[in-house]
Structures are given as C-alpha cells and as structure tokens.
C-alpha cells in the first residue's frame, strides 16, 4: 500500500481523471445538443394513452423522468412519468402534459391519428371526421377524408403563398413608397419656405402621389380579402381524443401527416422537409415554430460587414506594429494593450458601441442627413451597421495578433532576399511578406468570425431584435439597408429560450438553433486550426 502512494501513480491518474472529465464534458455537451436538436424533427408515432379512469390522451411522447418523492423512506419504489405533447393549445390551453406511468392502463398507436402542424396555436392531434367545402360535406370517414384532404391542401397552400407574396412584397412596396414620399414632403418643408408657390405645387404633387399609393393599397387589401375568403372556404372537422369537435380551415394547416402509418423512408423524407423548413423559412408563433432564416441571414450579413471592416484595419495595424514602427518600449506596450483588449468583456464593447456609434455618430448622421425623419432615429438607433462595427472592434485584436504572428514567422532570409534584389520596402511587404503571411491573416479572420458569430451580449444593445420586420437587404433602393435592425442566431437562442411565453414548446426550437450555431462555430474554428497547422508545417520546411 505504501508503494501505491509512493509511486505517485494515484496522483498521476487524478490529473488524468481531471483531463478526461473535461473531455467528457465537451463530448457530452455536443452530444446533448446534437440529440436534442436533431431529434426534434423526427416524426415520432402518436400515442394514445388510456388512463385508469378511462380518460384518453393523444400525443407524442417527448420525455420520461423519475418522479421526485421528497420525504419518502428508503426502498420506496421508483415512479416514473412521461411527458406527452398533446398539442391542441386552443382546446386544452397547454401543449404538454406529464402523465404518471402507474396511472396508464394502456398505450396504443391508432393508425388513423393525424398530426396537423398549424400556423397558429401549435400542433393539433386528432382524427378527421369530415371535410367541408362551402359548408357541404365532400368527404366523410377517416380514409376518404384523408385522401380528400391531401388533394385540397396543395391548393390552399398556393393561396397562402400568394397571400404572403401580396402582403410582403406588394403591400410592403406600397408602404415603403408612402413612407418615402412622406419623408420627401417633410424634407421640403424643412428646407424651404412653404409660401413659395412652386414648392407648394411640388408638395401637392407628392401628396397626390401618396393618395394614389393609398388607393393602390386599398385595392390590394380588397384582393387580399377575397383570397382570405377563398382560403378559408374549405374546412376540416377534427375530433380530438376526448370527443370534442374542432373545425379548422385548411388555410391554417402547414402540413398534416399520419406518423403511425408512415414507413421509415416516408418519415425520413418528412424529416428532411422539416429540416429544410427550419433553415429556410420564417419564424411563426413568436419564434417558437417555423424556421430561422432571418436569423441566419442576419448573422451572416453581420459577420460579412464585420469582416469587411476588420480585415483591412487589423492587417494595417499589424503591418504598422511589426514592419513599420520602430520596435521599442512603446510598441511593446501598445502590443500588450492590444493583446489585452481581446480579454476585455464583450459587454464593454457593446456599451462603447451604444455610446459612440449609435448616440454620437448615428445621432450626428441623423441630424445632418435625415432631419426629415426626426424625432424617429434612422442611424441614431441600433442597426446592423453599428452592431457589425462594434463586433469589428471586439475582434480586431484577434486579427492583429494572428497577423503579427504570421508576419513574424516569415523567415528573415525571404525578406532580405527581396530587399537585396532592389525591391522597395512596400514592394517587399506587398508582394512577398503579405502573400506568405496570408494563411495567418486568414486564420485570424476565421477566428474573428467564429468569435463574432457566437457573441450576443454586445449585440443585444446595438441592434439585434427578436423579430425584424424586414431583412437588411431587399428590393427597395438602395437595396442594402445598413440602418435596419436584424435577427441573430445567438440572440434567438436567448430570446426564445428565456423570453418566450411558452418556454416548454420553444425548447426544441432552441436546441435546433443551438446546434446550427455550434456547427457554424465549430466548423470555422476547425478551419482556422487546420490552416494554421498547415502554415506551421510550411514554415518548418521553408526555414531550412
């Protein structure tokens, strides 16, 4: 035994244990998010649970856990319960229900149970009773109705798409035009005396244009109304498991399926389509359902603008520090400061962005260029440009440090060779040093992007919103709207997970978003690591 302790092996293994524990934590975290994020889209079977008192519940099993029994003596048998997503929020009020397993008498999977994904009120679970067109029953019974439903649904989906197009595109255009005309009038009023006759004529002209647009708007509204009528004409009557009847118009159904009859392959196809919807669609139901396309778009665009800002500035600063500045105490101090800036909390940068970019610069821009819109701020409020610049500031130390490292690693003989051949310093830097330091610069940029993608705190105060009305890029001149607020994956996680009214229903959505975010960050980081490793190898060889 004495030998056991003396050998030191126990301590060595304890350090190993600490390390393995850390690895397990990372692996566990990734696995957890993977399982929860990807599992959600799989159409599991609909269970019909009959309880001891004879009442029935219909829904998908979402979880199972032990029931805590505080105060019970040892040896009390474990009791478990399952979490059932029963949906039908408009009927029951709650989406989820915990059911104690010892109260369940029977669980079966009825073949004709149908799941409706709806545009509002979440999922609906039930059985089809009949289909009504113009108030007349066109199909009754389960099988017949199911076939009829599948033939009617594509038509209403088309109408829905048309409605969305009109609402978003055409009415959006009209509103945009009206707003810009209004601002134009306001601008003229601010600049010139209204007494001038020609000015007055101009204003009247503009006002007429507004009237025209308003007329157009009313026409569109009329058109929409008729479309809505058409969409809601066809109805389906669904019977819930406890026998209540609910009439749904086909227009609110996103998709419907009978998971209990589906083959594995059919489920896989559905799974992919749901996955695609998640990535490419807009969110519904205060972000707890649908897709996250605007958040992906916002994140990518923000990172893009940030890269445009951070790359030249970071490289310029690194070039100055490494190639042009006289190496001495001051440069060493500056270098340490820049290094340390990477460790300053991101929220501090957010506060700076709010005070400097938004209030100081944005406020000035508004006063100089957009006085007609005041007191509504244009640039004097959070927006994608300010958020990107704030993140650029946050990540510029990363780029500087990485670039400097790369510049320092360029072998001296290459540099001297270039100078000896008569190249000027600039030519050496531009044609020799920067190309060979390119991988390092790229590494820095990728690391900066990875950091920016995951950062949320500074964005919360510089322009991220839970639901942006429009993307920062659209068809209206000047096409790129840098002053607009935007959505962001990281903020989406925070918002949906912590601020949404129905956290339980939102959780799967958050896991899926998290998975996507982690995927982006991990891929970027791995890319940076791989590039860096290659780079190291190259220098190892070129040094000899």
């Amino acid at each position: 035994m004495k030998n056991f302790w003396k050998s030191g092996d126990p301590f060595v293994w304890l350090t190993g244990g600490a390390f393995i524990f850390s690895l397990l934590m990372i692996a566990g975290l990734l696995f957890l998010i993977m399982a929860k994020g990807l599992g959600f889209f799989w159409p599991t079977d609909i269970a019909q649970v009959t309880l001891e008192d004879g009442s029935k519940l219909l829904g998908q099993v979402r979880g199972r856990e032990e029931i805590p029994q505080p105060g019970s003596p040892i040896g009390t048998p474990e009791r478990r319960r399952i979490q059932l997503q029963i949906g039908n929020r408009d009927v029951y009020g709650l989406d989820f229900k915990w059911v104690d397993e010892d109260r369940i008498k029977k669980t079966d999977y009825p073949q004709d149970a149908v799941l409706f994904e709806r545009r509002e009120w979440g999922n609906m679970y039930g059985f089809i009773k009949e289909i009504l067109v113009d108030g007349k029953v066109v199909a009754g019974g389960n099988k017949e109705s199911w076939i009829a439903l599948n033939s009617y649904l594509p038509k209403t989906q088309e109408i829905y798409k048309e409605i969305k197009r009109i609402e978003k595109k055409e009415i959006g255009d009209i509103n945009y035009k009206i707003e810009s005309l209004r601002l134009e009038i306001r601008k003229i009023e601010l600049q010139e005396a209204i007494t001038n006759l020609s000015i007055q004529a101009k204003i009247t002209n503009l006002e007429d244009q507004i009237e025209n647009q308003k007329k157009l708007y009313r026409d569109k509204e009329f058109e929409l109304e008729s479309l809505y009528k058409k969409q809601n004409k066809d109805k389906i009557v669904v019977v819930t498991v406890d026998g209540r009847e609910k009439e749904l118009s086909l227009g609110v159904i996103v998709r419907s399926y009978q998971p209990n009859t589906m083959s594995w392959f059919g489920k896989a196809v559905l799974y992919l389509s749901k996955l695609w919807e998640f990535v490419a669609d807009e969110p519904r139901e205060s972000n707890t359902e649908g897709g996250i396309f605007p958040a992906i778009f916002g994140t990518v665009m923000m990172v893009f603008i940030m890269s445009i800002a951070v790359l030249p500035f970071g490289v310029l600063a690194a070039l100055y520090l490494r190639e042009y500045a006289k190496q001495g105490l001051i440069v060493t101090i500056v270098r340490i400061c820049v290094n340390n800036l990477a460790g300053v909390p991101s929220i501090v940068f957010g506060v700076f962005g709010l005070g400097f970019f938004i209030y100081a610069i944005g406020g000035t821009i508004d006063q100089l260029f957009y006085p007609e819109a005041l007191p509504n701020p244009t640039y004097g409020t959070g927006g994608i440009l300010w958020a990107s610049l704030t993140l650029a500031l946050l990540t510029v130390p990363v780029v500087i440090v990485a670039t400097e490292e790369g510049l320092a690693a360029v072998p001296r003989n290459i540099r001297e060779g270039s100078l000896a051949l008569g190249a000027t310093k600039f030519e050496t830097v531009w044609k020799v040093i920067i190309p060979s330091a390119m991988p390092a610069i790229l590494t820095g940029l990728i690391l900066a992007i990875a950091r920016a993608t995951g950062e949320v705190a500074p964005l919360m105060i510089t322009g991220v919103v839970k639901l942006a009305p429009a993307l920062p890029i659209d068809g209206h001149f000047p096409f790129i709207h840098l002053e607009r607020k935007f959505m962001h994956l990281g903020f989406h996680i925070y918002d949906v997970g912590f601020q949404s009214p129905n956290v339980e229903a939102a959780k799967p959505m958050v896991y899926a978003t998290t998975l996507l975010l982690i995927l982006i960050v991990v891929v970027l980081t791995l890319a940076a690591i791989i590039i860096r490793n290659r780079l190291r190898k190259r220098y190892v060889y070129s040094a000899f």
């Binding site: 050998s7 350090t15 850390s22």
Partner: protein, 790 residues
C-alpha cells in the same frame, strides 16, 4: 543575379528613372499610409477607454447655477384694512403680529417685505408672489415687470398672515388674520399665438374657506389627499396648535356622511413655542418644530384620535430653534433645519423595541450653513432640496447621497422666500429687501457620489443603511438606489464559484497533458480544447439555465457527492491498473491509458444517481431543500451559483488549460530529464521540478481565466435569477455587473444618471480585466525570459 543590361537610349533611361521615382513615391506613400493608418487604428482602439471615461465623468460634476434675473419688487400698495370685530386689534397689531410670525414655506422670518410665499410655473416664464394683502402678483421673469395682480376671491379683503406652498408650487394654503384657512390653486393655461410663441395665462382658483379659529394663523398646513378627506393643521398667534379634519364617506346607497374632528393639541406641547410645522400628504403624520429644538410627532392615522408619538431633540445643541420643516418629494423624508444652520433629513423607522411602532430617526446629516436657515424648498423631481440662510447663501443638497451640489453665495441679506422650479431646473428667491433672484440650475446627476455608489446608504423605508441596487421604481417619488456594491459582489461570487470548479480541472488537466502524455497525442487534444474555448457563451448559458438547472435541482445530493465518488473510483482504478501485468500495460501509448477512466466515470455518475435517493432519505431527512433551509438556513433557487459556477467554469477551463499547458510544457527539457535521471518518479518530477518552475505561468493563466469570468455576460444573465442579493450561498443566484448592464442599458435614457452609472460599471469591468490581463502578460514575459536563461 547578372548585371543589369545597359540602357540603350536616353528615352529608356528617362523611363527607368521615372519608374524608380514612381516606385520610391509609392513606397513613401505606403509608409505614410501604414504608419498613419496603423497608429490611428491602435489609437482608436485605445480610445475606447477614454470615451467611456468621458461618458462617466459628468457624474462627478456638481450642479451649476446661473443668475439669469435680478429684479427689485415693487412693494404692493397697502390698502388699509378695515378691521372687523373678528380680527384681533387694528391693522397695526395685525402688521406687528405678522412681522413676528409670518411663515414662508414653513419658515419664520422677521419681515420687511410682506411676501408670504413664492412660486414659479413650469416653463420658468412667470413667477408669482403671495403677499399679506391677499393678492397674488404675477411677475414676468423676462424683465421683472408685474404682469397681473389677482385678488384672491373669497378672501373678502381679509389679511393673510401665513401661507404654505406645495412642492409643484401650484397649490397654496393661506391662513388669515381672523382664523380662517383657504386653499388656493394656481393654474396656467398654455396656448400658442400666431407667431408660434408660447403664451401662458395664469388663473387663480380659490377653494373653500375653513374656519379654524378666530386668532391670526401663523403656521398653516392643509392636505386633501382625496375627494373625501381634508385635514388642516394650524398654529395661532397665541401659540395654540389646532388640528381639524373632515372625512366624507359615501355609503352604498349614495348617502353622504360627513365626520368632522377638531383637536386642540396645545396642551400636549407643554408650553413649547411652535416655530415650524409640516403635515404629510396622506395625511398620517404631523410634525411640529419648536423654539427649543424639539420635534413633536403626532400619529394622525386615526383622525378621531391623534396620538403624540414622540418628542425628539432634533438639533445638535439642545435649545437651538428649528426654523423650518418640510418634506422631500414623496412626503416621507422630513427636512429639518435650525438656527445654527444645520440641515438634516429624518424619517420613520421601525422600532426594534416595540414591534409595530415607528420612531422618527435622523437619517442624513447634511452640510451646515453656519447661519440660521431661513427657508427651504424641496425639488419636485428628485430627493434634493434647497435651503437658504440669513446671510443670503443658498445650498443645494441631495439627501440620499448626502451630497452638497451647489452653494450660491449671498449678498448678506436674509432670504425670505425660496422656491424650486417644478422641473427642478431653476430656483427663485426673494430677500428681505424685496429683491427677486432668478437662477437657472443645471443639475443632471445629483444622485451619485462615492458613498451612494459603493457605500451603505439608508434609503427611505429601510430599517438600516444597506447596499441596494434598484434603479427604477413605479412612482415619481421613487428614490433611486444606485449601489454598485451588490453587483460587484455578484460578479465576484460568480467568478469565485467558476474558478473553484475550473482551476483544479484545468491545472490538473494541463499537468496531465504536458507531463504524462505522449507528445503525439497533443495534436488531437489541442483542437478539442480550442473548440471548447470557441463555444459561444450563449449556448452554455442556455444549457445551464434550461437544461442543467432543472436537472441539478432534482439531484443536488448526487451532484455534491460526485467529486468525492469520482476521486475514489479513480483511485480504485489505479489500484486495479497496477495489478494488470506489465506486458499489457506496455501496449498503451503513454497517456492513452487514462481513456480507461471513461467507463469508470460513467459508472461513478451512475452510482451517484443510485445513491441520491438513499442519501437524501438517510442524511438529509428525505428532502434536501427543507434540510438546507432548516439546518443551514439556505434558500434553494433553481438558477443558482452552483449552476453558474459549472457553466462559467466550463467557459474558463480551456483558457486556463491552454496557458498553463503552454508554460508547463515549455519548461526546459534538461530540468525534467535531470530529475528523472536522479531517480525521482514522474509525479515527483512534475510536482517538485516542473510545477515550481512554471508557477508564474499558471498564475497568469488563472488571472486571465479570472478576467474572462468577470466579464462573462450571457451565462450569468441566463443561468442566475439576476436578483441583486448579497450572500455567499452557493444555492442562490446573484446579479453581476455585466448582466446588469445588458439588462438595464436598453431602458436607460441617453445621458441620464442610470446611463452613466452603467457606463461606470463598464469602465470598472474594463479596468479590472485590463489590469488582470496586463499583470498576467507581464508575468508571462518574465517567465519566458527565465526559461531562456535556464
């Protein structure tokens, strides 16, 4: 390289020369651009600190006052008052009594100019004075001309002997020479004329006359908090204190029932002379200040039966007369000023000795005037007030922070009446000679000083001084509580628990990887750790708050057993491992044998979960939450420091690990080789040779990890309850500086006090992390030098 070919023609020569010229120019230009741009960018980055400091600086600037007008008021013409039977004596006596006893906003002044009260409307265009003639004069503050003189209706040419104005100086209560009390309201109608200029039209609405007595009233207070309740307190010229109240209640059937109570409280005064009086707006409390420096406090909650609660010596030296009493906004804090020039605020505090009772206590001792205080005026916007003395000096102070914001030096003429503009952006004062002063006051951040930001402050409604952060409240009279201490405390608490978890794991892991693992394994390990470092904190926060917190809540006993169980399991596995024949052991690459611990850990965690129930039942009485509360007095919150420590530790581990590992594996090889050659075990080498050499590097790793944990925002925001409590319990949450900024800055108005205080919090975070990182960096630079020399 061969020699350059000779130029053939002159043209070519010229072309080459100009090309060289151009290249040189480009080179110079590039140098200029890089130098200028590069240093500019570096400066810009460093300017962040400067900018944030600039935003914070105004918090420390005091208030500024500018005298914008100074006018000599024309003495109102004295129409000789026809005395009636009811008045005491003739006009002469009434005048003489007035000269002894008139009050202005509660302050007694020996009078020359017959002003009783003063007011100003909210745009500071018109000031108005109430004089003893029963007339209100409206004076333009542009030029000092009298705009209008309004005789108060219903006064019927009675002489006014006392007056008291409300905080917004729109309501006045007048006491007459024949014992009547009259509430008066002044309204301003604002309209715009053709030139878009604001036209303000004053209007005086008199209320109902209330007879209190037949003697002249020297001090008066009137409150009507709602339709049915009225209360009047008055002091007569012969020193009697009378309280009158009227309650109108409406029964269900709509019948009105009027109750009237009249109390003569003179006997309870014990012969003290009243010099000041204040009645709060509820009206629940009546405070009376006397010539002997005592405050009498009556509890008026039961209107039928006022109860003398307390008699307190309120001045520093007993016997100093109290010259005025008044309330800060909210009518809870009583301002007490005296003849010696001392100013203080008081409010009711729960009495520890007799439960349920409240006692008046001195809360804030403020700056002294060194001369008798003649008038006070509270701000209608914040907990600040103005006080003026007999030398004409005026002081602006803020009660909560006990901060003296401004002192306006006087002309050595006593100020008789003083008033704060309704928007707290100006003040009017009238001195004994009848000069009206009009000040513009700029007082953007009265609430802050070091004491209010970091010290214990006694806030209204609290039983003792405390550290509190509560930046906004529901009502206008809310007292903002800006103590950064609980937030800094929260930050440190979170950091402490995070490091408690992260330091052992990270450093032990670093020792393992650098000393006991085959170097070829490092290439696979490093990327994993780097990915761990890159995980967005919002992800960790989300998992901690929504997944882990509910999970941990169920298995707290198992969770706390885990470190012990896992350690024991590891030791057992070492023991077993040593029994394995060497031939098998040799097949493992150095370091890969630790992978055998993975199943052991799974087993260990499972054992902990199995033990959870029995341990809870046997040791913790079956319910650990109840046990915690009863035995240790700890409240269990679901989102607590345990969860935050775990999640934030997770974020900090890779940072500490990477830097420690760097410094550990860079320890010169000859040291370890020498140690091993001398027969030390690998553990002895690691702990006695490598660790001491690399200690500085590990220290700097911990510092940088500390810096990261201090600034972490999203994890703290999502995984704690964000309540600014101050205790070290691991089972409840906290509110950190960073999360506080994220929560509150979107709501903070630009340029306001809260906005700047949040900038101050950001500045604190910046400095803290910057200093930590700089120290760590310097330590590392020194360490590298040391390694070079070894």
């Amino acid at each position: 390289m061969s020699a350059l070919p000779n130029p053939k023609t002159k043209d070519e020569q010229a072309a080459r020369a100009s090309a060289i010229q151009r290249r040189r120019l480009t080179d110079h230009a590039a140098r200029a651009v890089v130098t200028f741009g590069g240093s500019g960018i570096v400066l810009c980055i460093l300017a962040i600190l400067v900018f944030i400091s600039l935003e914070v600086y105004p918090l420390w600037k005091g208030a500024k006052a500018e005298l914008v007008g100074r006018y000599n008021l024309v003495l109102p013409q004295r129409t000789p008052i026809v005395t009636t039977d009811r008045t005491v004596g003739d006009s002469n006596t009434s005048e003489s009594s007035e000269s002894q006893l008139t009050t202005i906003n509660g302050s007694a002044v020996g009078s020359e100019f017959p002003i009783l009260a003063l007011g100003v409307e909210e745009y500071k265009k018109i000031g108005y004075i109430v004089t003893s003639t029963g007339r209100i004069d409206f004076i333009s503050l542009k030029d000092g001309n009298t705009l209008e003189q309004v005789l108060i209706e219903g006064l019927d040419s009675r002489q006014v002997t006392s007056a008291k104005g409300s905080l917004d100086n729109r309501k006045f209560t007048l006491g007459t020479s024949d014992g009547y009390v009259l509430p008066v309201q002044i309204n301003f109608k604002v309209s715009f004329n053709d030139n878009d200029e604001r036209v303000i039209d004053p209007e005086v609405v008199a209320g109902e006359l209330i007879q209190v007595d037949t003697f002249p009233i020297t001090h008066v207070a009137f409150e009507a908090p709602n339709e049915g309740t009225k209360a009047v307190a008055a002091v007569t010229s012969d020193g009697r204190l009378i309280f009158l109240s009227e309650l109108t209640t409406r029964s269900l059937l709509g019948e009105e029932k009027k109750e009237q109570f009249k109390h003569d409280l003179t006997s309870q005064l014990n012969g003290n002379t009243v010099t000041a009086m204040a009645l709060d707006g509820f009206p629940d409390n009546l405070y009376v200040g006397t010539k002997a420096g005592k405050i009498f406090h009556w509890d008026m909650r039961d209107k039928a039966n006022p109860k003398l609660n307390d008699i307190i010596d309120a001045t520093k030296n007993p016997g100093t007369a109290i010259t005025a009493l008044g309330f800060l906004i909210g009518d809870r804090s009583l301002i007490v000023v005296d003849e010696a020039g001392d100013t203080s605020t008081w409010f009711l505090v729960r009495d520890e000795e007799s439960p349920g009772a409240k006692r008046l206590e001195k809360i804030h001792e403020l700056a002294s005037h060194q001369a008798p205080v003649t008038a006070i005026a509270a701000s209608a916007r914040d907990k600040g007030f103005l006080s003026a003395d007999s030398k004409g000096n005026i002081i602006l102070q803020y009660a909560t922070s006990e901060r003296k914001l401004l002192e306006i030096p006087g002309q050595s003429i006593p100020i008789k009446a003083l008033v704060f503009a309704p928007k707290a952006n100006g003040a009017l004062a009238v001195d004994e000679k009848g000069t009206l002063y009009d000040w513009e006051i700029d007082n953007p951040h009265p609430e802050t000083n070091w004491k209010a930001l970091f010290g214990k402050v006694w806030y209204e409604g609290y039983d003792k001084p405390e550290y509190v952060w509560q930046s906004t409240g529901g009502t206008d009279d809310f007292e903002p509580k800006f103590s950064l201490t609980p937030l800094a405390y929260g930050t440190l608490k979170g950091t402490f628990y995070a490091l408690l978890f992260a330091i052992p794991l990270a450093i032990l892991g670093a020792i393992c990887v650098s000393q006991f693992m085959h170097p070829s394994l490092k290439n696979t390990i490093k990327p994993i750790i780097e990915i761990m470092a890159a995980l967005p904190s919002v992800v960790l926060g989300f998992l901690a708050g929504l997944w882990m917190a509910p999970l941990v809540e169920k298995i707290v006993p198992a969770f706390s057993m885990m470190p012990l169980v896992l350690t024991i399991m590891t030791l057992i596995s070492v023991f077993l491992w040593r029994l394995v024949p060497k031939s098998i052991r040799g097949k493992f690459k150095e370091g890969t044998e630790f992978l055998l611990l993975i199943p052991v850990f799974f087993l260990g965690v499972q054992i902990c979960l199995w033990l959870n129930g029995p341990v809870e039942a046997l040791l913790l009485g079956g319910d650990y939450k109840a046990w915690l509360l009863n035995t240790l007095g700890l409240q269990f919150d679901q989102r607590n420091s345990l969860v935050v420590g775990f999640a934030m530790g997770f974020a900090v581990i890779p940072i500490i690990f990477t830097i420690s590992e760097d410094s550990l594996s860079n320890v010169p090889k000859h040291l370890t080789s020498g140690s091993l050659a001398l027969g030390a075990t690998r553990w002895q080498t690691a702990i006695r040779v490598v660790l001491p050499t690399a200690a500085a590097g590990i220290f700097s790793a911990v510092m940088i990890g500390f810096g990261r944990a201090v600034g972490e925002t999203m994890i703290v925001l999502m995984a704690t309850g964000n309540t600014p409590v101050m205790d070290w319990s691991i089972f409840n949450g906290f509110r950190a500086l960073s999360a506080n900024i994220a929560v509150e800055i979107p709501e903070a108005p630009h340029g306001g006090t809260l906005y700047r205080i949040l900038f101050l919090a950001a500045l604190l975070l910046f400095l803290m992390t910057f200093i930590l990182n700089t120290v760590a960096e310097l330590v590392r630079i020194r360490l590298r030098k040391k390694y070079g020399q070894l």
